[in-house]
Subunit: 462 residues, 2 copies
């Protein structure tokens, strides 16, 4: 085992350089014009897997290709695990808030800044390198592994379910390992046992058939920006609860024991407030900060667009106004039901003076696995050995919708062993990845296959 860890140590600076190379691709799946760069990025990754000694190929999905890579099979009966990641990244806008360009990686101390550094390129490269270290040192890799690195996670993994169904035979196994979540700090590594689901919407309120002169027509015709504001304003009450009838119907209440477990994770509200730069926090009354952001559902406006947005003023009644909205969901909320509920409510709020369109976008179910389970324990052990600190079990507020597809289509559960730190700025300007996280993550991935091999086959996580 030491030889594998030594190999990683010897190659650590080369690996950072390679990660930089990988981060230079603007692989933004939400922007259709980035399609060529998406493919270049996927090809780079495929070749890197081949260099590590895996058999890798690009597989078409109808959208951005999947990179699929298999470790050499020994023929022995050993557990087979899927390692999932995604090479696509969030849009980097607003560019002006980046200290340096999002696709020109910059190292500052132990932090490597670039869009996708932590979410998710750095995290799945750590797994690739751990396997390379096994293979290049001739050390027996105790599990058969298949890497599935997709290019549409940030747009809801819309082609992945079909891909899983079509390739079930080669993908099925003991479970899935994903490093795409976070940990409170380098001294508190974490296994994530719960994730929030998601439901996305785009609302467009149409008023007059063109932008109108507000002097000539103002006073006689409704303003869609006003109507949109009035609709949005009613979606939330003063106690921070979503005011859509039925929204909370299926929410499974937190048990006393889970609230106790959650309370282990300390979050100082003053530090948190200062970190976010706000005078006062705002959340659902009756829940702690950690509960609010990981175990309670939300509805957020992600964007507003209407009328004139340039310099100075333009005296118009805009023809339309739109909002992007996403809900974060918790067990046992069903995204399809929430989609219908929210869309119907939005529609019923629109007055006859305007016309509303609601587009229901991507969706993902919330996820929860029991922390009491041999594979979860194996993950905890790997974390403890790599980080030399006692790991915690936590829920996370983000969504990895495909975790549910793995359960439904492949019949397996997922081990979430995330390497992101709270200040990694995922989805924000100046995203970064910590190189200690990167290196300890590689070590964790080395120990993980030992720990999982030790418990043998067929003990499902749940």
């Amino acid at each position: 085992m030491q030889v594998v860890l030594d190999y990683l140590r010897q190659h650590s600076s080369a690996y950072v350089e390679e990660l930089c190379e990988y981060l230079r691709f603007p692989s933004i799946s939400a922007q259709p014009d980035k399609s060529p760069e998406m493919r270049q990025c996927a090809s780079w990754l495929q070749k890197r897997f081949e260099k590590a000694g895996l058999q890798a190929k690009l597989m078409e999905t109808g959208g951005c290709p999947v990179v699929l890579a298999k470790t050499p099979r020994s023929g022995k009966a050993r557990p087979h695990y899927l390692v999932y990641g995604h090479y696509d990244v969030q849009p980097p806008e607003p560019f002006e808030l980046w200290k340096t360009p999002p696709f020109a990686p910059r190292l500052e101390g132990r932090n490597l800044f670039a869009r996708g550094a932590s979410d998710n390129k750095g995290q799945h490269l750590a797994h690739l390198y751990a396997v390379e270290a096994y293979l290049k040192t001739g050390t027996d890799l105790p599990c058969d592994l298949t890497f599935l690195i997709e290019g549409e996670e940030e747009v809801g993994s819309k082609n992945l379910a079909k891909f899983l169904k079509q390739n079930r035979a080669i993908l099925k196994g003991e479970g899935v390992v994903i490093s795409d979540t976070g940990m409170p700090s380098l001294k508190q590594p974490a296994l994530t046992c719960g994730l929030r689901g998601i439901a996305a919407f785009e609302v467009k309120v149409h008023g007059p058939n063109r932008d109108l002169h507000s002097g000539i027509f103002g006073g006689t015709v409704d303003n869609p920006a006003f109507v949109l504001s009035q609709i949005l304003a009613t979606l939330r009450d003063k106690k921070g609860r979503i005011a859509i009838p039925g929204f909370y119907d299926d929410v499974q209440p937190l048990t006393a024991s889970e609230r106790k477990e959650i309370a282990k994770l300390k979050l100082d509200p003053v530090k948190y407030r200062n970190f976010l730069g706000v005078q006062e926090l705002f959340g659902e009354k009756g829940y702690t900060l950690v509960e609010q952001r990981s175990a309670r559902p939300t509805l957020e406006i992600n964007g507003l667009t209407s009328g004139y947005q340039g310099a100075g003023s333009k005296t118009i009644i805009p023809a339309w106004a739109s909002a992007k909205i996403t809900c974060r969901l918790v067990p046992n909320q069903d995204p399809a039901r929430i989609g219908k509920l929210v869309a119907a409510y939005l529609k019923c709020l629109c007055p006859a003076t305007c016309r509303i369109e609601v587009e229901v976008g991507h969706a993902g179910e919330p996820y929860y696995v029991s922390p009491e389970n041999p594979k979860a324990r194996a993950g905890i052990n790997a974390l403890r050995r790599a980080f030399k600190a006692e790991p915690i079990m936590m829920r996370e507020g983000g969504s990895i919708p495909i975790v549910n597809d793995f359960r439904k289509i492949l019949g397996v559960d997922t081990l979430l062993l995330g390497l992101a730190l709270p200040d990694d700025n995922a989805h924000s300007p100046n995203e970064k990845f910590n190189l200690d996280s990167f290196e300890k993550g590689m070590a964790m991935a080395v120990f993980l296959w030992q720990e999982l091999a030790a418990i043998g086959s067929s003990s499902k996580i749940k």
Copy 2:
């Protein structure tokens, strides 16, 4: 007189071609990067005045230059009038709604499409050509005229008051003539006796210090797009009244006789609705359509901006959200008082979870002149002779803030003889100017100096 009108007729197609040349300048005063094009446009106009036989120069204002042009002075004691117009135009966005590019004029039947065609390039060129016809045919022009064509009308004429003060000596006279308003139809030319004032605002609600991942942070921190929506939603009530305390305090109620005069102007609500493409109109209860859009104050959201606006979705809590707002004001509302009132109210609506900034922008007072007045009658006569139809007296909903500066600084009133038709799409995509309006407008401008000379000097409009 006939020789002047004949001259105009002979040159009508050349004048349309020249108007097209003038319309090709993207003279957008709201966009600082268009500063070179603004100056090119002003120079073109200066040269055109010189070609017509006037003495013309560009005069610096600190912003976009003023084009000032004087007719040759005979030395005889005759009334001196100022002719005002503006060579700057509204921003053309959204470009995709223009059938052909906004600065590539296109003639379709009798309509000439281009940004600025009707507002205001076509209208002041009509006055230029009328004077050229007097001068080139050697016909005695019965008034001394000074043209003042500015470049900042669409951004609130911010440097004009100072300019008027500095040049009071050469600008003062009997009054000002402006063709920058509208008429109901070619068969119903109009003198505008009232204008609404304006007060502009930009509101920005700040939340967290950067866009946040809505999964990681959602539920614990307020969303500025929500807060902005909630603030905006409260600014208007269901009866279409502005819900800002004190907003209506200084509004002078419409008298029964004026309501009767206004009622002469017919507006078919069904046709109007269809023209605007809405299912139902919306306005202040208790007032007719024409009253709502010309004699009652409004508050409109002109633009909304927040978070992600690109393709697909981005799961963030945006760092900020902003709105552009303008109020249209009526006699005797004071824009400065309304500015303070609105800004204070917006600020008091912002919760402690966010921070609000309100910028009070350009302002203009409402305007009203009595329809009973020799100069107003002279204007009416000129319209009647040119259009061969009975003119009406009307109020208009738009704002020409500098009309108040003329009154305050030069001590004179303004005759508003607008040539725009209701479907000219001022401030909207596919702005146009009707060539019958253009030609009849030139004839009106020919008759006007006769009519005004006939009444002699010093009968103020008011």
